[in-house]
Symmetry: C2
Subunit: 232 residues, 2 copies
DNA sequence: CGCCAGTTTGACCAAGATCAACGCAAGTGG
DNA sequence: CCACTTGCGTTGATCTTGGTCAAACTGGCG
């Protein structure tokens, strides 16, 4: 489902962002509306990079559609998926010089890009924005802490349950989850191997807790059975 | 080394913080100095809680002396140490209603407490402070991400090396590290068991990479040998 | 001196990794 | 249209790392 055949990486821009020089009073007190004016929309096709590890870090993004994977490849081939970002999630907000993770489109994706300079200017004009962004980072931090607990102390079944339940929280319908990413992505997100992820999912299926009509869809047949695994 | 015999938890306050109502122009542009004025200094004795999981979250802290441990106990007894905070580190900065982790003094500790209300008022007066705090949270987030990588993809020796090197970065002298926390604390921080931490340290000792004159001191005899384990 | 708490070491075990094969659906090209 | 390939995903057999259980060691302290 790609419109333009095969541009290797850099993509299509829609509305050019307005220079955030001086804004009318009407938006002075709506930081989110003001932010919209400095964002540029960008389509990214399946499996292409939005940015790579080591790229200069001069902007941040919000997902408008699709799923983005933040990951890092170690020298010896081990891979770590730091985060999946879905519609509405922000990523790449930092104040380092270089990207620590790379960000890639899991499927076709639309992101809004906010340049750091424009964001900084906007903060000068409307300081409430800084609080807003700070809250955003605090939510990310809380999430990272939950994940540290998961990665340091949970068993494989607990990790997989936590993933499935997290996805079902975020998804449209709670009865079933859409799984846009591959098994390898899930494994690298949970700190497991692909085989272990498969085996655990299969065992849940065998017990009737879930159904897997196809690899990218999981139906939650017995949510309480899953929750029983996750809580301990 | 405890002055007052055994007050179970709540402790001694020194300088009462000034109400941050309206400040002289002189501090208007030094957020850090202004922050000092709303902070209250508090001594906490070894192994007592600064706050516990579930406590109302209405303030944050900066370590002025000693080491603080942020941790969480799971229902079945598994424990997770989220962070150690040393002199100058801040902790407990969030916007949740309740504490997610408990914070305890590893040894005797002095912390500065900043109430959330006073901090919010101060941000209204000097919006640059919000950026400052945002940067602080961003550093914490970056650190959390490094730790997620460690916990999800590193072997036991790699974790221990990373701990030792991290401590040596922060410590006074790079040749040796002071280890205020117990082996159990280290294990719960690295997502290992106490036995594994001991064994790995012993093996490094056997190889001559470190010396352990006593459990709370580790000397780095061959830093490059350690770095060789950590990098892969 | 003997106890206690924390640390270290050893013997054994199990969760999950690794290695290998197979299944299955979507291309691809004759 | 049908063999052949290719890229996931799944399953099985075996191995390794680190966990578990248990015992010994150490230094401080009543």
């Amino acid at each position: 489902m790609v419109e333009q055949s095969a541009a290797t990486s850099h993509d299509t821009f829609d509305r050019a962002g307005l220079a955030a020089a001086s804004l009318p009073a009407s938006v002075q007190f709506d930081p989110l509306a003001a932010l919209e004016r400095i964002g540029t929309r960008r389509r990214v096709t399946r499996d292409t990079a939005i940015y790579a590890e080591g790229d200069p870090s001069d902007s941040w993004y919000k997902v408008a559609a699709g799923t983005v994977r933040l990951s890092k490849l170690l020298a010896d081939g081990r891979r770590h998926v730091a985060e999946f970002c879905f519609d509405g999630d922000c990523f790449g907000f930092d104040n380092t010089a270089e990207r620590v993770f790379s960000a890639d489109a899991v499927g076709d994706v639309i992101v809004i890009r906010y340049s750091r300079r424009a964001t900084d200017r906007l903060i000068d004009e409307m300081p409430q924005l800084a609080r807003h962004l700070c809250d955003m980072v605090l939510r990310d931090l809380a999430h990272a802490q939950t994940r540290m607990l998961l990665l340091s102390r949970m068993t494989a079944p607990e990790r997989v349950v936590s993933f499935v339940l997290e996805m079902s929280e975020r998804g449209e319908t709670k009865r079933a989850i859409e799984v846009p990413m591959s098994r390898t992505d899930i494994a690298d997100y949970l700190g497991l191997t692909i085989e272990t992820v498969c085996r655990v999912l299969s065992s849940f299926k065998r017990e009737g807790a879930i159904a897997i009509p196809n690899p990218h869809r999981i139906e939650l047949c017995d949510r309480s059975a899953l929750e029983a695994v996750g809580d301990p």
